[in-house]
């Protein structure tokens, strides 16, 4: 029987293995060695690795430069942000410098660094603590961008990211930290740039990012009860993007829904839809659809945010509509009861 870990534990284990394997790896971020250890993902590492595991001043841009400069001379830093919103301070270093360091010096230097950023939702995190900005990073050549959805991939992709010779943006959805799943022991990697078919199906392709893969799974179960057979492609890597994997699925099903954690407008979902419209033109049986955030900032009040975030039911409805089910709206009754701003009942805020 395979061993189960939470997503947070998988990240911790991957980091531990990387620190243990290579003295050039180090881990830095606000609160990294503190008692909460970045939602548990860095606990105990300071004790084990000393100076290579460190806290830092509240200086996101500067510290990104520090990570880059150390990478240029051979270190392999992992930098953490507790919210991707804070990383906006460091876009100059990330997009102008790190992303281009290899290219603009004619390939003679490299910038192997990982920037872990947490994206999130719920509990009134509001407009400045819950953005999901993968579209920005994915737009920049020179960066790699991954968004693992399972504990298995979190570990395999983090190790691959640390071992990669390029700057990698590693985005963790806050609600995934709690999820448990099988995680092999020891070192293994998942390749950057390869999507994963999470569920095979005939009728509709759901290309999902990060946490939306879980909602897509729930949606697929709802759809299965209504004889709709959904295929789920967990995109995993936005840059490089495995367009081939999504296209193979779309060519089979003829239908595409993209489920993203970020804003729909100008989001990564647009790139997926555009590429499939270009590549699978003759094979599409219905207009593609996106299930993503509406065009407004995150409202804080739970009374508003419960209408903000798309869930399984929205994915399922979109699929049913696409397949011409007349009563898609009523097919999937609104869930009731449980609050929608927490991943499960054990979550009691405040973060």
């Amino acid at each position: 029987m395979s061993r189960h870990l939470t997503y947070a534990q998988a990240i911790l284990e991957a980091t531990d293995l990387c620190l243990g394997a290579d003295p050039n790896v180090y881990l830095m971020g606000l609160g990294v060695p503190d008692p909460k250890g970045i939602f548990g993902t860095t606990l105990g590492l300071r004790e084990k690795y000393g100076a290579r595991v460190l806290d830092m001043p509240t200086s996101e841009n500067g510290m990104t430069g520090v990570a880059l400069g150390s990478a240029v001379v051979g270190m392999r830093p992992i930098l953490t942000h507790q919210r991707v919103d804070f990383a906006l301070l460091s876009m100059e270093q990330l997009a102008n410098e790190a992303a281009k360091w290899h290219y603009m010096f004619g390939g003679i230097m490299k910038a192997p660094m990982v920037v872990r950023s947490i994206i999130g939702r719920g509990w009134g995190n509001g407009p400045q603590h819950s953005q999901s900005l993968q579209a920005w990073f994915a737009h920049v050549p020179g960066l790699k961008v991954v968004m693992p959805a399972t504990p298995h991939d979190a570990k395999g992709l983090l190790i691959a990211s640390v071992e990669d010779d390029n700057p990698v943006i590693f985005l963790e959805h806050r609600w995934l930290h709690y999820i448990s799943g099988p995680v092999p022991e020891g070192r293994y990697t998942e390749p950057l740039g390869v999507a994963r078919v999470l569920r095979e199906g005939r009728d509709v392709t759901i290309a999902a990012l990060s946490y939306m893969s879980l909602e897509a799974h729930k949606a697929a179960r709802m759809l299965a009860e209504r004889d709709i057979d959904a295929e789920i492609v967990d995109v995993r890597s936005l840059r490089p993007f495995d367009a081939g994997a999504v296209a193979r699925s779309v060519e089979k099903t003829g239908r595409l829904i993209v489920a993203d954690t970020g804003w729909e407008f100008g989001g990564f979902s647009a790139e997926i839809v555009a590429q499939m419209a270009e590549r699978c033109f003759g094979k599409l049986k219905a207009p593609p659809r996106r299930v993503a955030l509406p065009d407004c900032p995150t409202p804080t009040s739970a009374a508003l945010s419960k209408h903000y975030y798309p869930r399984a039911i929205h994915v399922a409805r979109a699929a049913a509509e696409m397949l011409g089910r007349q009563d898609a709206d009523s097919l999937f009754a609104e869930e009731t009861g449980a609050p929608l701003d927490v991943p499960d009942k054990s979550f009691t805020g405040p973060f």
Binding site: D34, P35, N61, G124, N125, P127, Q128, L304
Partner: protein
Amino acid sequence: MDSRLRRQLFHDTLRIRLIEEEIAARYGEQEMRTPVHLSIGQEACAVGACAALRTSDYAFGSHRSHGHYLAKGGDLTAMLAELYGRATGCCRGKGGSMHLVDLKVGFLGATSIVASTIPIAAGSAFASKLRGEDRVTAVFLGEAATEEGVFHEAANFATLHKLPLVFFCENNLYSVYSGLEVRQPAHRPTWASAKGHGLRVLYGDGNDLEEAYELSLKSVDAARAGEGPVFLELATYRWREHCGHNYDNHIGYRTEAEYQAWRARCPIERAQQRLIADGLLGAAEVDEMRARIDAEVKAAFEAARNAPWPEPEEMATQVYAEGANAT
């Protein structure tokens, strides 16, 4: 110092304490679904600062700004309704605990990104300067905000243009669970990095209400007189956890002894003792004050909790301003 003022300052400090204690008491009910950063232990800084400001002066806050908002005169019920996510909240439920605003008293906003309101406050001070208004802008920050580059950019600009701006820096030794020693050089006080820009610098005991007030007044007066921006650093201490309502001395980032030492320097107890010693306040009067505040707080909580939720449509409104000038 005027004795009526001394009593007023004491009252205002006590009031903030009691309001935040009530938030703490109720936070576990999980009805205020927004991350709260309580200022319990630090209230004297907010009260001293705001007593030195006029209502027409502007102020900007940070993630930990219940006290600043209240001290500036912000509406209590509107704040609590905001914490409860209601339509009557000061941000109509869109902002939460870290986004407080009350235009009537010049509290122009708090935000949740460390240091982000600092240049914004410099901008409002710059507007006042351009317009020749007799108005000071205050910005509240924690000591960690001085680690952000944008603080230095704002400090340089404010000094360059001699802006009527006061930086009220509450140094509570911690940024979340991180002590100063992992963030700022040893033996270099936080204010020194402000002084480097040519700012006038003052510092003192933020747990001494009257000292906090006197230093604030000096700072605000200098800024108003056109002498340029002032950086006032007040030493203080947060009693409870960084975010949330619990005590957390047991988790290991600070010692119980350190907490107790600061606890013994409670700004409210110290002010009360002095007022009593000076014959300006009696124990019965304090009880009466407390009772009046309790009643106000209870009523405000009641009103906030009974307020209506925002309508679902409101989620997507107010993304863009559509005023006379909107296209």
